[in-house]
């Protein structure tokens, strides 16, 4: 275990220690509850029915109906695929793909360590360390990837997150820091 990991584990243990709330906390909660309206049992049944309707369930289909359903699903899938391709969202410019092995490259002359982190390695800094190529500040790593869309970033010196300047950025905004997207098609 490195010193940094040891510090982190000790911090987690400290954060797991119980906390002490005020000794009247429960009474305050119940007093506020008793001063307001009660939940309605009929409302429970309403939401339970709504929940049941939203759940998936087995459906019986006749052979002829099944054939029609299969044809419909195939048509929707084909249309969806052609629409996605026409929007140009699948450009793997970040990496050169060789079969299912993908090479990721970044230029960081001042870095002492660079890791590739992404969906495919659970954002682990240890999973895919990059190798410095002799004398030119270029860092590289190759990763086997199955077809799909992946988010990734470069972790420089263990703390700086960089997106790939040559790749599309992540399309959603749920991440607080830069990230990139690579799409691996059927090769």
């Amino acid at each position: 275990m490195t010193e940094g990991n040891g510090r982190l584990e000790r911090a987690i243990d400290a954060l797991k220690e119980p906390v002490q709330l005020g000794h009247t906390f429960d009474q305050r909660v119940m007093a506020e509850i008793e001063s307001g309206p009660e939940p309605r049992a009929w409302a429970y049944r309403f939401w339970a029915i709504l929940d049941w309707l939203k759940r998936g369930r087995p459906v019986s289909v006749s052979p002829l109906g099944g054939l029609a359903l299969t044809a419909g699903i195939a048509l929707v899938a084909l249309l969806g695929r052609s629409m996605l391709e026409s929007e140009g969202q699948s450009t793997p410019v970040a990496a050169a793909a060789y079969g299912s092995v993908v090479q990721f490259v970044i230029v960081e002359p001042a870095a002492t360590a660079v890791s590739l982190v992404g969906d495919f390695n659970d954002w682990s800094a240890a999973a895919n360390p990059m190798q410095r190529m002799a004398g030119n500040g270029v860092w590289s790593v190759t990763v086997p990837l199955t077809p799909g869309r992946y988010r990734y970033a470069f972790l420089v010196n263990g703390s700086i997150w960089l997106s790939d300047p040559s790749a599309p950025p992540t399309l959603d905004d749920e991440f607080g820091r830069p990230g990139s997207v690579v799409t691996i098609g059927e090769l």
């Binding site: 940094g4 797991k16 119940m30 939940p39 982190v117 749920e174």
Partner: protein, 186 residues
Amino acid sequence: MGIYDVKGESDAVLVERVLAGETDAYAGLVARYRDRLGRYAVRMLGNVADAEEALQDAFVRGYRSLARCTDPDRFGAWLFGILVNRCRTLGKQRARRHNLVVHNEPAVAKAAVAHSEDRDATREAIEWAVAQISATNREAFLLKYVEELSYDEMTVITGASVSALKMRVARAREDLRRLLAEVESD
């Protein structure tokens, strides 16, 4: 208010009793989840007063909307989701208010650390470091490592995807590791 021994009564039974009009049965659910959810709120918001406000609000909202808890056996997870939202809201409000008063909180916190006893200093250093992590990453980190939830459970509670949560946890770990090293080297 009666005294409720909640041993042997499942969440579903207590929820059913509350919905049948036994308001006091809710005290059993409060007692069952107060400590665990209280710990999350304190770690997330950084102080007991704000944590109690968020937790009380979550319990009251949970009671008023109990009819919407359609899987009463998982009342705890459902309530945790409400608390996570209350902590987000209160955290944003406190951050806005705090920014008007304290302009250099890290320096203040570090100064406090420097003048405390060793054990307190360690605890305060950890609290300071946790507070520096972005709220989104801190939330994911606490749910994963302190509350020890699975990513699937976290997805239900936070509404974020497993992939996003993994990224947030990884970033929180890196931030915390760096911040703890910084504090130790000061």
